[in-house]
């Protein structure tokens, strides 16, 4: 339903999204997970044709965002981070207006308004001015607006941000109820949010795609993993074999070295002594060790960031202990 290939978006010298590719099948709920400023909103804005990509392509429901933006927009319902509401309008009137501009025929728009009003539980406030609504209701009006033309794809940017716990649970339920009929992409910077509602999680950090997997697999993969970067002067194959033979090392990946040195990414288990044992192994074999450090922000660290920023302890522990 959604296909993104090599998507890059630069704002002047700043790269917001860097070469991201992924695919989403029909009816799936996909969670975009990443700390603030990771590029989630930018990616969503490209998908909804609000921003053009700098490089790469994206297709939604078979239509390219650059070639056929009108068709893409017809198939997408989008809830931006702040719901785009007109405070001087009544809820009912607002939904009718959004329905009309999204191409719902005049004869059908009333029926659609009734349906989304019911679905998003807006019956009590339908004749109230949007200016007078609470945050939770505003979010629901925003969601109703995204659903009004019964789109194939729903793009929801932080749908539960700023809601109280009860509203969060209601919103999650609502989103869950929508899957099946709609393909949904939602973003969040909170792990539990995504792991409870989504079938697939896409983790991005600083514009780069870090992982795509099911929530369960991710948790398993993360159970105590660490990546260490090594730069060594020595015969590559021997070094790799020696590192691999160490207790607690699960995978050694060779990388391009320069100046006769070889670099490796070594995935290890959770062991506070592993780095010193690696260093000793290299030195005792008679090779020179140039560099040894833990790599940037590991997936786990991103996860930790995500889970500790907000969200409840239990689920965080389940995700990243």
């Amino acid at each position: 339903m959604i296909k993104v290939e090599g998507l890059t978006k630069r704002y002047g010298p700043h790269t917001a999204v860097n070469n991201i590719s992924f695919e989403v099948a029909k009816g799936q709920i996909v969670g975009f997970l990443g700390p603030n400023g990771a590029g989630k909103t930018t990616t969503m804005r490209v998908l909804t044709c609000f921003l053009p990509p700098t490089e790469g392509s994206a297709t939604v429901a078979g239509f390219d965002v650059m070639q056929e933006p009108l068709e893409v927009k017809r198939h997408i319902g989008y809830l931006p981070e702040t719901p785009p509401l007109y405070p001087e309008m009544e809820v009912d009137e607002y939904l009718e207006f959004t329905g009309r501009i999204k191409g719902v025929a005049k004869t059908e728009v009333r029926g659609r308004v009734e349906e989304v009003t019911e679905r998003c539980a807006l019956g009590d406030v339908r004749y109230k001015l949007i200016a007078k609504l609470s945050r939770g209701y505003r979010q629901r009006v925003g969601l109703a607006q995204a659903l009004i033309h019964n789109p194939d794809v729903l793009v929801l940017d932080e749908p539960t941000a700023g809601l109280d716990p009860k509203q969060i649970i209601e919103t999650r339920k609502l989103i869950h109820g929508l899957s099946g009929d709609h393909t949904i992409i939602l973003s969040s910077h909170i792990l539990p949010e995504v792991s409870t509602t989504c079938q697939l999680v896409i983790i991005i950090n600083q514009g780069k795609l870090e992982a795509i997997d099911t929530p369960d697999n991710l948790t398993a993969r993360l159970q105590g993993h660490e990546t260490v970067f090594l730069e060594v002067d020595g015969p590559p194959d021997d070094v790799a074999a020696r590192l691999q033979s160490l207790d607690g090392v699960s995978r050694v990946t060779r990388k391009d070295g320069h100046g006769g040195r070889v670099s490796f990414d070594v995935e290890t288990g959770k062991d506070p002594n592993i780095r010193s044992r690696m260093a000793r192994a290299v030195i005792e074999s008679g090779w020179n060790l140039h560099e040894l450090r833990s790599v940037g922000l590991s997936l786990e660290e991103i996860f930790l960031k995500l889970t500790t920023a907000e969200g409840d302890k239990e689920e965080a522990a389940g995700g990243a202990s």
Binding site: F50, P52, E88
Partner: protein, 256 residues
């Protein structure tokens, strides 16, 4: 076309849901009412005197003494009211983030722009309606020629449409309504006084600059004369304004 009307309807509603429309219309009615009363009172005063000294003064004509100067006045006062009508068109949507709704809905940019411009036109026509209401009194108590009046209103509509096109463009360049209003007012004022150039410069460049003056082209309309060059001028300014707005919306996507 359907989308344009849907958008225009929403825009007109938000004019009348906010105090803007009422303030603009109310102040306008007051100011124009004062102008109208003064012009009529002076006319009545003069014609009384002319009657008393029969034979010395030429017969006085409502069209020349009331309608034409009033129409000229209107063409200048609208200058002060236009920024209030156009400042919010795009600036408000940009600040509120609702522009994201419009730009991610299956609408063409030109539909959004025409919808907003049309709504502004409707409010402007309400202003003209108030002036027309005043003019009705002239027909009740006198016999002015209605043809030059009609031509005058045609001119005012063209003039307003041109102003609103430029105003829409300026509003689309900023998030801040006050900035939009100030810029719009500045540009309109310049366009008004541009024809002063003709009084001290006779070079071709001076003529071109004077030709760009927006109010100068209105004078023939006020006299009841439609000249092709004036109509062409206004229509080109309308197109220019809307075209620039389209470009500005496009650049919004690339820069945002």
């Amino acid at each position: 076309m359907n989308n344009v009307l849907v958008l225009a309807k929403k825009e007109i509603r938000s004019y009348f849901a906010s105090p803007i429309a009422y303030i603009v219309l109310g102040i306008w009615a007051l100011i124009f009412g004062y102008f109208f009363y003064s012009a009529t009172a002076i006319f009545v005063d003069y014609s009384m005197r002319a009657m008393m000294q029969r034979g010395q003064a030429p017969p006085m004509n409502i069209n020349d003494f009331i309608i034409r100067p009033l129409l000229m006045n209107v063409s200048v006062i609208v200058l002060f009211f236009m920024p209030m009508i156009t400042m919010r068109l795009f600036a408000e949507e940009k600040r509120m983030g609702t522009i994201e709704l419009l730009l991610t809905s299956p609408l063409r940019d030109i539909e959004i722009i025409l919808g907003k411009w049309l709504a502004a036109m409707v409010l402007y026509l309400c202003l003209l309606g108030i002036t027309a209401l005043n003019m009705v009194f002239l027909f009740i108590h006198g016999k002015p020629d209605w043809r030059p009046l009609l031509v005058g209103y045609l001119g005012l509509i063209l003039l307003g449409a041109a102003f609103l096109g430029i105003g829409a463009f300026i509003s689309s360049t900023t998030k801040n309504q006050i900035v939009a209003a100030a810029l719009t007012f500045g540009v309109f004022l310049m366009l008004w006084v541009l024809d002063w150039v003709s009084s001290y410069s006779t070079t071709p460049a001076g003529k071109v600059i004077a030709y760009m003056s927006i109010t100068q082209h209105f004078e023939p309309f006020a006299k009841g004369v439609v000249e092709l060059k004036d109509a062409v001028y206004y229509i080109s300014v309308i197109f220019l304004g809307l075209f620039l707005t389209v470009r500005s919306m496009e650049s919004l996507r690339w820069r945002a």
